[in-house]
């Protein structure tokens, strides 16, 4: 790179003709610095989760990073203890049992509804859609007490069925909104020609709309999965902290309460709660980002 200007300009011509080499370098440095700053808290957690309690108390985790190859300082016993003795393994299973149906059920319902809003005409359509969009911002807290009463009356409190239903109800507005945005943008000619060929709405939905909407379905699935997996409030209210049903965030919060200074356990436990979201997120980042943008870019 003889001079910064042409090299940079080649990246995307026009936009940054005035950026000097110095400017370019300082921008990179700034970005890297922010990225490091954003990663340090999580890194501290991850590093500490592999250190013994004595080590954590004796030196800061950053000092352990200075000698990464002294393998004797690293240990997996923290994970062994939180998974078995502290019940995180059970909570992990509970989280899976809560999250998978609570993601699959709303997608099914929302896809049908989004199709109807986009491609069927019926009285009250605009009003109903506006209502659902308005519900996107109504605080969940408005529903907590009445739904709790309803669940108590129907013996659904503390059951997986109850929390699936709650998450389905709470997640539907966003699901309908996101899927509508996508499905309504599908080319109308497709539906028309299928309709002329004698396909029913149901056939169009199943054979054309669902296959074409996979990216949007995936986006919402990731949203809902992360939201349900990470949720603490709804889990505490409708499922509780009993070890037979408690999910990971609820169990983690219990540990904070009972073992607040046992950092070797807390760090390992916190990381156990994050493994699945990280994996989902890193593998499916593209769909997630697409969904975020579709949900909030406004002209």
């Amino acid at each position: 790179m003889s001079a910064g200007v042409p090299a940079v300009a080649a990246v995307r011509p026009g936009r940054r003709q005035r950026t000097s080499l110095l400017g370019f370098v300082s921008v990179r440095v700034a970005i890297t610095a922010i990225a490091v700053l954003w990663t340090v808290p999580t890194a501290g957690l991850l590093v500490s989760s592999f250190r013994s309690n004595a080590d954590i108390r004796a030196t800061g985790w950053w000092e352990a990073l200075l000698h990464p190859f002294e393998l004797t300082t690293w240990t997996l016993t923290n994970y062994g203890q939180v998974l078995a003795a502290d019940g995180l393994a059970g909570a992990f299973v509970n989280s899976l049992v809560v999250t998978i149906p609570a993601t699959a059920i709303p997608i099914t319902m929302a896809a049908f509804a989004a199709y109807a809003f986009a491609w069927m005409r019926f009285p009250g359509r605009s009003l109903l859609f506006a209502l659902i969009v308005a519900l996107l911002v109504v605080p969940l807290q408005m529903s907590l007490v009445p739904v709790l009463r309803m669940f108590t009356a129907t013996d659904l409190n503390g059951t997986f069925l109850g929390i699936w239903l709650a998450h389905t109800g709470f997640g539907l507005p966003l699901a309908v909104y996101l899927l509508y945005n996508y499905i309504s943008q599908l080319p109308g000619e497709l539906m028309e020609s299928a309709s002329i060929d004698g396909a029913s709405h149901f056939a169009i939905f199943r054979r054309i709309v669902v296959p074409l909407s996979v990216p949007a379905l995936a986006s919402f699935a990731i949203f809902q999965f992360l939201w349900v997996w990470n949720d603490l409030l709804i889990a505490l209210v409708y499922l509780g902290t009993d070890s037979t049903v408690a999910v990971l965030p609820a169990r983690l919060r219990e540990l904070v309460g009972t073992k607040g200074e046992s950092w070797h356990l807390l760090t390992a436990a916190a990381f156990v709660t994050m493994v699945v979201p990280f994996a989902v997120f890193l593998l499916l980042q593209r769909y997630f980002v697409r969904g975020l943008i579709a949900g909030s870019v406004k002209g």
Binding site: V11, V93, A104, W119, P139, L165, L233
Partner: protein
């Protein structure tokens, strides 16, 4: 938009074609009823396996399960599978079936009924879990013993409530401003370099972390130990290295509320960055060029050209984050539990609900939260109309 549903089938096969989906509907309905029965029964999973073995002719194994019960994990995974099969398969079959029933109706009537089959289940769920409860909450906060004055008057006399309101305002202003401001800064910086993905991923990653997890991460960052011992929290390590005494960041008001807001900013900045990045990419190069030719400085270019062009997106991002922040609960609940003057409305409501079992008061706090977002709801719906989004 296409309109009337047009189902016209050749006749001879028609009858059979119509009976099959009807059967599917009945199967779906049966599946749902059976599934709900199994799911509501604490021993449902055991019953499923026992009947399975009975069907396979291994009644000895079936009896063993009935007697001793399943292993806990197997029982839970069974619940999971039943949930997905019923929740997706059952619902799908019901749609198939109801659709077939609609086909049997005269065409006009079918056209009128069918949209409601598609929208109905979702609308019913939303009504049961959001609309009706919201109305009930408002109603019960108004009609509580002693009436409005009593409920809300008591709320207004509670000093903790005012701490919560003050903190919610702080959260709203600093949390939203911080996330959007830093997100916009990073998006602008990233827009200037070619390879951006990796740095962005690192800033974005906290978005996948639960607030409870983030609370633990940051409790460790803010960890405090007496001066005589080595500091294990990175913030106090830096702070003491600069020659200061260690600070209990989470216990000392008003510092602790700011420390908690930092957690939210850390979580939400990635979201703002990604969406604003996409908006920046949409600003046409010609406009930037034209501004430069006209002699605009970089600063003028940013504030007078770029920011106004992406104003809509900035507003949308700010709204989304503001709503999330208003309802913030987990961070406060897990770090301080609302002690040391860090209370917020959502945590207050949870305390009223579960510690004091005061449902009227909890409802009243929910209504306060709701009133705080009503302007946003109005703006959203008006905006939707203006952009002609939605049917």
């Amino acid at each position: 938009m296409t309109t009337a549903p047009l189902t016209r089938r050749p006749d001879p096969v028609g009858a059979l074609v119509r009976v099959a989906p009807l059967a599917a509907a009945l199967v779906g309905l049966w599946l749902i009823v059976l599934g709900l029965d199994v799911l509501r029964d604490p021993l449902g999973a055991d019953r499923v396996w026992a009947s399975l073995y009975d069907v396979l002719g291994q009644s000895a194994t079936a009896d063993a399960i009935r007697e001793r019960g399943l292993d806990a994990v197997q029982a839970k995974l069974t619940t999971l599978v039943v949930g997905v099969v019923v929740g997706v398969g059952g619902i799908w079959l019901v749609y198939v079936g109801l659709n077939a029933v609609a086909d049997l109706l005269p065409r006009r009537l079918a056209g009128a009924v069918r949209p409601w089959l598609f929208v109905g289940p979702a609308a019913a769920m939303v009504a049961v879990f959001l609309v009706v409860p919201a109305i009930v909450t408002i109603w019960s906060s108004l009609s509580a013993e002693g009436g409005i004055a009593e409920t809300y008057g008591a709320l207004a006399e509670d000093p903790e409530m005012w701490v919560a309101v003050r903190n919610n305002v702080l959260w709203l202003v600093l949390g939203t401003g911080g996330s959007v401001g830093i997100g916009l800064l990073i998006a602008t910086l990233v827009d200037r370099v070619k390879r951006e993905a990796l740095a962005k991923t690192f800033i974005f990653l906290p978005l996948a972390i639960s607030m409870a997890g983030a609370a633990v991460i940051w409790r460790f960052v803010y960890a405090w130990v007496p001066e005589s011992e080595p500091q294990i929290g990175i913030l106090n390590a830096i702070w003491t290295a600069l020659g200061n005494e260690p600070v209990a960041w989470l216990q000392a008001p008003p510092l602790n509320t700011f420390a908690l807001i930092v957690i939210m900013v850390w979580l939400q900045t990635g979201f703002a960055m990604v969406v604003l990045s996409a908006a920046l990419k949409g600003v046409p190069n010609e406009i930037i060029e034209a501004a430069r030719i006209d002699g605009a400085t970089e600063r003028q270019l940013f504030f007078a050209v770029i920011v106004p062009m992406i104003k809509g997106t900035i507003l949308a991002v700010a709204t989304t984050i503001a709503i999330a922040i208003l309802k913030v609960f987990d961070i406060v609940y897990v770090t301080t539990g609302g002690k040391f003057e860090t209370e917020v409305l959502a945590n207050r409501m949870f305390t009223e609900l579960f510690t004091f079992r005061n449902f009227e008061r909890a409802s009243a706090i929910a209504v306060v939260l709701f009133l705080a977002v009503t302007p946003i709801i109005a703006i959203n719906v008006r905006d939707l109309r203006r952009r002609r989004v939605g049917p």
